[in-house]
Structure formats: C-alpha cells, structure tokens
C-alpha cells in the first residue's frame, strides 16, 4: 500500500458536517452532551470521542462577513512528534503504519495525566485527546480499518462537495497544487498548510489563524520540535 494523504479543500466546504457525523458513526463514538454556546460549532472541541470536528469561524473582512469552516483532524505527520514524545517518556501507545503513514493510537494503553499533557503539547496542531475514565488516548485513525480494505476513510466517502479527498500522497499533493493554482487568482492569500510535514493537506484562502488557532503550526515550533526529536528536512521551505 502506498504512502497516503488527505487533501482538504476548505474552499469547497459548506460545513454540512457529514464528515464529523460519518466519523462518529464508523468509529462508533458516542454523541457527547453539548449545549448551544452561541456558535454552530459543536461539540466545542475535539475529544476522546470526537476525532473529526468542523470548526466555524466568523469574521468581517472589508466590511463583509466571512464564515470559515475548518474540518479539523489529525495530520498524520510524516515524523509524528506525539510518537517521538511518547517514546521518549516510555509510553507505548503510538505506532505509525509504514505502508500508509497512518499514525495510530492504542486506546487500551493507559497513559497518565502528566504523560498525556506532554504528548498533547508536543503536537503543534493540538490533536491528541485523552479520557480520564479509561486513561486511554484517541484521535483520527485515518480509518485504518477501512483503508486497508481498499475503502475510503468515512469522512471522505461521505463528503458531498469534494472538500475531503484521500489517496496516494503524490496524487493528493498534485491535486492540492493544482487547486492552489486555480484559486490563487481570486484568493491571493491562498495557501497549503504545512504540507511537507504531514498527511492532511489543508487549502485555505486567508490567514490560517482566522480559521482556527491551530490550523497551521508556527514554523519556529516545528523547528524547536525538530531539535528535540529528529531534524526535519527542509525546514527553511516551510518558513515561507
């Protein structure tokens, strides 16, 4: 099986949340208790039971409303800092599938609160989540149980607009670059986020932080992580 990636084209996302629900359904994750907080984003954040979350962000640009949608999920890093961190502190919950590149958490491995804190903090995209009750960690699995059978991840399968794409990494990168080229004329700020570093290539058309605080990792953080874990190649390219 070839190295895989997602291409997540936010220019096409209508926040129907089919991905969020399909993820819960496939993974048999329960609906959590939520309240209306003055936002359509619910649940409020990723959790042990929520691997995929469409984030809603409202703002005004040149007196006009903008409403950005960001279908957040694990980036499945090429060199996952969470895994490096876990290994460095002796937590054996995280593996990386060599064939696909999927980064997998074993929720049955008990992780202590302070260990989890370090693992979560090691992730520049703030993805890892932990359950106090079971002491296990969980996040997006790349639908590993589906893709190894040749199926698409549930979120991609259900997406009606073409926002969620999945396939061989080179094909996804090609698709992302082509789409970036296509939208650049209308959206000069369009960019692909940290795509060298991970396998969930987001296309956004405005400052990433306007979508979500952790949409894009600060390159200095990646650089710092790089020193701590293994040096990441081509850091300078990411600084652009």
């Amino acid at each position: 099986m070839a190295d895989k990636s997602f291409f997540i084209d936010t220019t096409k996302c209508t926040a129907c949340r089919g991905c969020q629900i399909a993820c819960k359904q496939w993974n048999m994750n329960p609906g959590t208790k939520t309240v209306q907080r003055g936002s359509h984003q619910n649940p409020e954040d990723l959790s042990y039971f929520t691997y995929k979350l469409v984030r809603f962000s409202e703002l005004e640009v040149d007196g006009k409303p903008r409403w950005y949608f960001f279908p957040d999920q694990c980036r499945h890093c090429v060199q996952p800092p969470c895994k490096m961190m876990a290994e460095s502190i002796g937590v054996k919950a995280i593996t990386r599938d060599e064939a696909t590149g999927a980064v997998l958490y074993d929720p049955k491995v008990k992780v202590k609160a302070d260990e989890f804190k370090q693992i979560r903090e090691s992730c520049p995209w703030d993805i890892p989540r932990w359950d106090q009750k079971t002491q296990g960690m969980a996040k997006c699995t790349m639908c590993f149980d589906r893709i190894k059978e040749g199926l698409l991840p549930a979120c991609v399968k259900t997406c009606p607009t073409g926002t969620m794409n999945f396939g061989d990494r080179d094909k996804m990168l090609e698709m992302a670059q082509q789409r970036l080229k296509d939208v650049k004329a209308m959206y000069p700020k369009a960019q692909l986020l940290n795509y060298d570093f991970h396998r969930a290539i987001f296309l956004v058309v405005d400052e990433p932080a306007r979508y979500h605080k952790f949409a894009s990792a600060d390159t200095t953080i990646i650089a710092a992580l790089g020193k701590f874990i293994n040096p990441v190649q081509n850091i300078s390219q990411l600084a652009g």
């Binding site: 939520t34 359509h40 409303p65």
Partner: protein, 814 residues
Amino acid sequence: MTNHYIDFRNADVILNMGSNVAENHPVSFKWIQAAKEKGAIFIHVDPRFTRTSTKADIFVRLRSGTDIAFLGGMIRYILDNNLYDEFYVKNYTNASFIVNPKFSFDDGLFSGYDPTKRAYDQSAWAIEKDENGIPKRDMTLQDERCVFQLLKKHYSRYTLEKVTAITGTPQEDLEKVYKVYGSTGKPDKAGTELYAMGWTQHTVGVQNIRGMSIIQCLLGNMGIAGGGINALRGESNVQGSTDQALLFHIIPGYLPAPRAQWATLEDYNKTTPSSKEPRSVNWWKNRPKYVASLLKSFYGDKATKENDFGYAWLPKLEPTQDASWLNLFDEMYKGKFTGFFAWGMNPACSSANAGKVRQALAKLDWMVNVNVFDSETGSFWKGPGMDPKKIKTEVFQLPCAAFLEKEGSISNSGRWMQWRWKCANPPGVAMPDGDIIYELFKKVRALYQKEKGVCTDPILNMKWDYETGGHFDIHKVAKEINGYFLEDIPEHPVDKKSYKKGTLVPSFVFLLDDGRTSSGNWIYSASYTEAGNMAARRKKTDPTGLGLYPEWSWAWPVNRRIIYNRASVDLEGKPRDPGKALLKWDAENKKWVGDIPDGPAPPMGTEGVFPFIMKPDGVASLFGPGLKDGPFPEHYEPLECPIEKNILSNQRINPVVKIFEGGLDTFATCDPKYPFVCTTYRVTEHWQSGVLSRWLPWLIEAEPQMFCELSQELGSLRGIENGDRVLVETQRGKVEAVAIVTLRLKPFVIAGQTIHQIGLPWHFGWLYPKDGGESANLLTPTVGDPNTMIPETKAFMANVTKITAQPAKKAGKA
C-alpha cells in the same frame, strides 16, 4: 422542478433565492460546485448570511417577505435594458396576447375586486379571443393592451429607489444581481433559480414563484439545460406525496378533486381544459382518460360505464371549500372532528400557530399517531400547560418502519422515481406504512361488512388486492399506479397494435376513457411496464452529455428529464444553444434526438404546435389570469410587518388572504411590543420538526438546543450578548432560546427606518431532549397564501429580550 439536481451544473448563473441550498439540500451542492468550476456565477439572496452565502460569488440581503419587490425590480431592469430574449418572448410566451379592456390595475388592486368577499372576479382578466376563439395577438408587442406592454407598465413602478426602500437591499447590490442574472437572456446562456420554503411560506408565496417564472420566460430560461424554476423540495419524497395527491384540492396525477357541483362524471369532465387554438396541443384535453383509468384502478370490476366508473363514490368537496391544513386545524379547534390520523407528521411542532394545534388535538375523541419515534403530537396530552385528566382524546401510537427498513420508491425534487430496497428489518412490531394502511383498510372493511354503516359503497367496492402470499406487496401497488389493459385490445386507437388483457400499459398515451384501462396515477404511467420496474434502473449512460442519465431510475412524465424542452429549440427544431443541445429535430428520420420531447410533433415552424403543451394556449404565461390574487405578482407586505404603509400602494397586505380571527388567532403589525421581523428556518443537522433527528445522538450533539440569531447591532440595543438566554415573543406565544449574536445578520434600512431581523429554527420540541427547547411555531401566525394556504412562517413580527446570561462559562465569538 422543471429540471433536476444534476442539471445545476449546466447553468451559467445560479440564483439561490428563497432557500438555503447548502444547509438544507447539502448533497445537491456538489452540482453547484460543478457549475462554479466551469465558471458559473452563484448568487445568494437571503435575509441572513448562511453557510450557502459563504460559497456565493454575490451575496445580497433582503428583508423577509419582500421578494416580489426584488423580482419586480429585476423585471423592470430586464425590460428597460433590453436584456430579454426577443425570439423566445414573442414565440413561446403570451407576451403578444391582447388582454380584454376590463383588465386594469390601480393602487395595488386589479380590476374585479370585491372587498366584502376579499376576492376577485377573475373573468375581468381574460385574454381577448377572435371570432374563432383564438387569442388575439400583436406580434410587434406594441399594442398597449398586449401582455408585454401591460407587463412593462406594471413593473415600471418598481424603481431601484422604491425596491431598496422596501427590501432594504442597497441599490448597488440590486443592480449587481439584476445585471448578472439579466446576462442569461442570450440564447447561449442559461440561468437557473433554486427556491424552497423561503418563497412558498408567505401570503404571496405563489406570486413569488410567478415573479421568477416571468423572469425565466423573459430570459428564455424555461425548458433549457441549466435553466428552469427549481423547487428544492423539503423532504425526500414530498414530490411523490404531492404527485399522489397528498393535498386536498387534487386526486392522483394533479386531477382536480371532485366538488359537490360536479355530481356526475360528465359534469366533472366538462371542466376539462379546452383550447380552440389549433396549434396548441393542450395535453390536458386527455384528462377524461386519466380520470376513467383512475376510477377503474380504485374500484376494479365494480366500476362500469353505466355507473360512471364509480365516480359517485368519490368524496366531494363543497363548491368553494378549501380543506387545506390551516382550515383543517381551525375546524378541529372548533370541535368539528372526532378522529385524526397524524401519519409521519408532527403538527404540534410543524404547524403554524402550533399552540392552537395542540389545543385542537384535545378536541378529538381519538387520534392515531404513526411515526418512527414518539412526538409532541403523540404525547400532546402531557405537554406543557396540558392537564391529562381533562383531555378526552384517546391516542393510539403505531410505530412504523424507517426508510431503510422498507422497500418502495421515493420521488425526488427532479421528479425522479427511484426505487429503494430494504436493508434491515424494522424493530419490534414496527411495520412499513404500506403494510399498516393495507391491513388497516382490510379491518375497516370487515367491520363495515359486519356492522353496516353510512355510505358503505366506496368502502365495500374498493379494489384491494395488493398482496402476495397473504402479505402486502409493494410491487403490485407500483404496477397498479402504472396501469393495466383490462381487456384484450385487438387494435389500439393510438398505434393500431394489439394488447393483451392483464398486461401493463406502456405509457399514459395508451390510457382510454371507456374503462378498458386502469392507472392509479397517469403521470406515473410508463414507470413499471412489461419491460420491468423503470425506477429500479441504475445505468449511467449519458448520450447528451448533459447529465440527463435517461436510464438511471425514471422521471415523470414519460422519463422526460427537463420539461418544456421544446422551448430549447428554434422554429426548425435546431438547438438555440448548440453547446447544450437538449433536443434536436432529425429532419431526415423525422424524429427528435436528445431528451424525451414534450410530445412527438415535429418542430413548431410557422404552422406546427406550440411548445408549452400543458398550457391551453400552448405558450408560457407572462400574464397569468388563473391565480386568486392577480395576473401579475404585486408586492404586498406580510400580514405582520414593520411598516404602516406599503411603499407601492395603499393595499398593505395581499387583498385576498383569508383572515382567521378570534381565539388563538391574533396578529400585531407595527406594534411597538413586537418590533422585529422574524423568520424561521432549518439547519443541516435536523429534519423538519426534529422527530427523527432529535433522537439521534450525533445530530443533537451538533445542534443541541433552540437558538435565536440576531445582529450585533440588535444585541447592543437589547443588551444581549452571544450565548445569553433570551425570550422570543409574538402575539401568539413565547419561546426561550440561546442567542447567537452574529455579524451574519445586519439591520435593514426600510423606508428610512432601521429595522432589525431575527430568526429561529423550528426543529425543537418539549418532548426530547428535555433541555432542547420548544417549537418556533408557537410564534408563527395562522395565515396563508390565498392560492395554496401555505402558512406565512417566513415573515412575522416578534420581540426578543434577555432572560439571563449564559449560566455556564461565557461564550466565545460566534
């Protein structure tokens, strides 16, 4: 829809006005995306900036309930700037027809108005006919009484200044939309309009759609690929249920419901549309064949020529009776009913003025509630403010199968009848609806046979043989709907071929008015033939390349994917837009190639048939004398509105709406107690009144509670912050909600005053979840469109006040 979902991709301009396509028809958005990728411009016109607006190339706001003003301004703009398709307007519409001199319009009223009856005498709007009964025409469009000139005159009043004053849409925004949409008047450009309840749920609902139909006809956008007027139906099978006569005024296949004054079949058939215009196909002239075949389907061998095929057994409406939803529940409220089946519906939450409906249910002796889950209707007797000890209504709850637990067809908005297969058994004792109806009627009939009763003929004579091996058989029903030859036909009048008794008719063309054929619904005839179940087809062939997919499922009528398609070609049958050739005449072989044409007749030429075969005059109606509230759409304010005076005339509201008065029917216009324009809507995550979706943990997690969206400006005015609990009140009721204070809503400037707009979803109800909130329909008024009686739940007046700040933690930004 005149067209279908996939066809959106063929449009050059897509106008989404009167609906919120990305949120309420999310899967269809892929076709809008496909059009955009080919360079189409997507316009969204709405009071709110929604998830749809985020993907619009042009988004403009308008105040709820002012669509006719907006569209009237567009008609004026198209005419003033000569953007209309002259060939189309002259040849394919009634623009050239001469209207009789009795027609006039003055200060908001058309001629023929009787204020005591709140009704028009529509004969004052008739088209003038010559001595042969053929409409008089002026092909130069110069006669001052021709439709084109009357149209021009009528909409000359809709200036940009006035439209802006009414709608609150800035002039530059109006012009932007008018210009872009007007650009589709060229033969090689297609514009489509997508609407839904944002247009229908008004006291001018039908005229909203008429307004757009006029625009589409002026621009030559009807009957073409990428064009049309496309109703995004609010439920997956609402098209099918309308086709099968869910509504009171029709029997299956859009045949008019019998009325008391038509005592015999002959009387009924006298109302068949006729035309003296030899060039008009007037397809409705075939109606007697469809009625006779329907009666044969109902009553089988009991229906004979001698007994009018059992016509007398059909229930009759009183001569002018309107038995629509609002009237029905009004009568129930007055104690006129003993029993009621609430089947797949939740009127205690879905109906306008739901508080009145809940009271009405308490007047019944019995109610049968058929649904997948319990609802506020089934449990109304233990709802808020109800004392179960004082309620006599006996409620029977029948659990039914959900859509994946039964086989059958659904008809989508594009008129596609699509077969679905069962993938799981229903839980417990739940049964598919068809099985429930089938078994129920057998029991009812057995009781009548045993105990007799009043008017037993319709019950005892009903043909009821849709079972195989003692079980209800949905295929037998589907075949019945298609229709059978009931006798051997040695030489059929249509094709001179012979047909065997008991075989399925190939299409409605073969139906007869003499009792030798049956069909449960003529428009579905050809859906299940000797060649098989057409709805079950799944072939992806696409010969035109336009995405018609003629072998995927089946579309009524006769698998025609785009209706009025003869309007896509010129007089010689050549496609007017060769790049999107929907239909073309193959002169050599004397046949049409492409979509199934609107009838096989050769091209119109100078003596052939007109393209709009369902219209008595054969052309599209810019002037439409058939509606109760006028032949041209005119702007009137909603029943409850924020301004004392209609800016266009002295008729503040639609002069022919029925006013329900007294009891729980109260209204407030320009009342300082209710200063804000309010509208209701749906979100992607929930389904209608939420009976299905509120019980699904993942959906209720995503949209857990009742909310009220309001602007930041209104928030400051009322001291309401994002996430606060608020109370929304109207003259009818009150509902608590969580405030979403958002920059996606903005105040309007209407006639110089600042007018605020708020909105709420109608998905919630007291039953479940306990902290979800109540139905927005406790707020909405009992008033409807005069033609359809669809309630005006999209524009009414409300107040909003803060109850408490959000108890938990302070909410962040929206």
